[in-house]
């Protein structure tokens, strides 16, 4: 998985984009040594029982409510700044 992430980040970052990862709620375990190699700097926490961030920080928090608004099924997300004062980078007009 680390190799997957490293390559994914390399390609996306190499193109000039800011790679981020959505952290879902599945719970298979892997070697704890690998966790320090996770290459992302932008984290988005899924709804559900995802652990709170202790060191890096999530920049976006999802709340799953099976909500439909204006005919569209959505999950709500809220922006945060992480522990380094960084936030997500969006495109806006």
């Amino acid at each position: 998985m680390i190799a997957y992430c490293n390559n994914w980040v390399d390609r996306v970052q190499g193109a000039g984009y800011a790679p981020g990862i959505y952290v879902g709620d599945n719970q298979l375990l892997i070697n704890s040594v690998q966790l320090r190699k996770l290459p992302f700097t932008h984290y988005w926490r899924a709804g559900g029982s995802i652990p709170n961030v202790q060191t890096f920080g999530y920049q976006m928090i999802q709340k799953i409510a099976n909500e439909t608004l204006f005919g569209v099924g959505i999950d709500r997300d809220t922006i945060r700044t992480d522990r380094f004062g960084s936030g997500v980078q969006w495109l806006i007009r």
Partner: protein
């Protein structure tokens, strides 16, 4: 029956559709043959559809519209037009395309769909095709800067180019290798491409075609990370070349806007359903500030994934936007090779929609589960 237009002729799926009822092309079809149909509908019927190679509802509606206008109805079993490209429709499209290709055209212009973003905005890309001293020459000039990322601020994305009436040849733009200038079809190219760079700025890309072969292709990328131009130009009749100069202005589908660090506390949503302008405005009025929409992990955006048109509507509706790549099925296996290809496709699809560098592109790794454990441990 053999299709006669240069656009359709020789395409196995279109040739099959021209002679076989079961080979008809209908909603759900994908591929280059669909893109050719979309291009024909755009050129012949001014259809306002994405040239994405996906036969979705919009393409189906354009087909139906085309058939209604021409009263294309198979009276043996139907009383009104449908949205399927069968034998009668392909014959009609091919006939009109063939006629269109045979008519000499005045100089053409490809109209930009959006403006540059970031950096200085100067001239658009300019292609000129001229017959000079017995040779055909293609010169492309492109100017742009993107000081923030050290890249030339010029992305020409392929799928959004649209040829307006007056086209002399068919010009398509495809993905190409970044940071390089290549010529494909070298048997009839006797000189390497000429690239002039000035202070990180490509000022011109040129090549010469020494005989009257019908097609050539140039791929030009300005600097690492940004594909600039990949153009393939087919000249319908090399012995009767087009007017002295064809001027084509090409602009990509870069989404207009600015990359911004999102303010803390902003409320948004993610959804796998397309958002139109009206819905985007409604969300904005409810104090939603942004939206996340999906990119495919495949090489092309799929049905229901984010398109340029939708992205513009979301942004025009007052919402900020970020892309996220779809999760795979629950039991996929993460490998290094897959990470590279998924990353490449995330980039390709983000570019095809028109995202500028700098924006967050998210990956959704819900499936294998390991990642959650990684992050959980990391954060603890």
């Amino acid at each position: 029956m053999s299709l006669r237009s240069k656009l359709f002729g020789g395409d196995p799926k279109l040739e099959a559709a021209a002679v076989s009822d079961p080979a008809h092309i209908t909603i759900g079809a994908k591929g280059e043959h669909v893109r050719k149909i979309q291009l024909a509908l755009t050129l012949l019927d001014d259809a306002n559809i994405d040239l994405d190679g996906a036969y979705g509802p919009e393409t189906a509606a354009a087909v139906l519209d085309y058939k209604k206008k021409r009263n294309i109805i198979n009276r043996s079993y139907q009383t009104q037009a449908d949205d399927i490209v069968g034998k009668m429709t392909i014959a009609s499209l091919d006939r009109e395309m063939h006629q269109r290709e045979r008519v000499p055209r005045p100089p053409i212009r490809i109209v930009p769909k959006s403006n540059w973003v970031m950096g200085s905005q100067r001239n658009p890309t300019l292609f000129t095709l001229a017959r000079r001293s017995g040779s055909l020459a293609l010169n492309a000039s492109a100017i742009g800067t993107a000081p923030r990322f050290g890249q030339i601020n010029l992305n020409i994305e392929p799928k959004e180019l649209r040829l307006l009436p007056g086209t002399t040849g068919l010009i398509t733009v495809e993905d190409g290798a970044p940071g390089t200038v290549q010529v494909i079809g070298d048997p009839f190219i006797n000189a390497p491409p000429i690239v002039h760079l000035s202070d990180g700025l490509i000022t011109s890309v040129g090549l010469q075609v020494v005989d009257n072969r019908q097609t050539f292709r140039v791929i030009a990328g300005p600097v690492a990370g940004t594909t600039m131009i990949v153009a393939s130009l087919a000249i319908p009749d090399p012995d009767n070349p087009p007017p002295v100069a064809i001027e084509v202005t090409v602009l990509g589908n870069i989404l207009r806007g600015r990359i911004q660090s999102a303010p803390a506390g902003s409320l948004g949503f993610d959804t796998d359903q397309p958002i139109n302008l009206d819905v985007a405005k409604k969300f904005a009025r409810q104090n939603f500030k942004f939206c996340l929409r999906y990119l495919s992990f495949g090489p092309h955006q799929g049905t229901g994934d984010l398109t340029t048109k939708e992205a513009n509507q979301i942004l025009d509706g007052g919402l900020a936007l970020m892309p996220v790549q779809h999760p795979r099925n629950p039991w996929w296996v993460a490998t290094a090779a897959l990470g590279a290809s998924d990353g490449d496709n995330a980039v390709k699809n983000a570019r095809s929609v028109g995202f500028s560098p700098g924006v967050n592109v998210w990956v959704d790794l819900e499936g294998p589960g390991e990642i959650t454990a990684i992050v959980a441990r990391h954060f603890h």
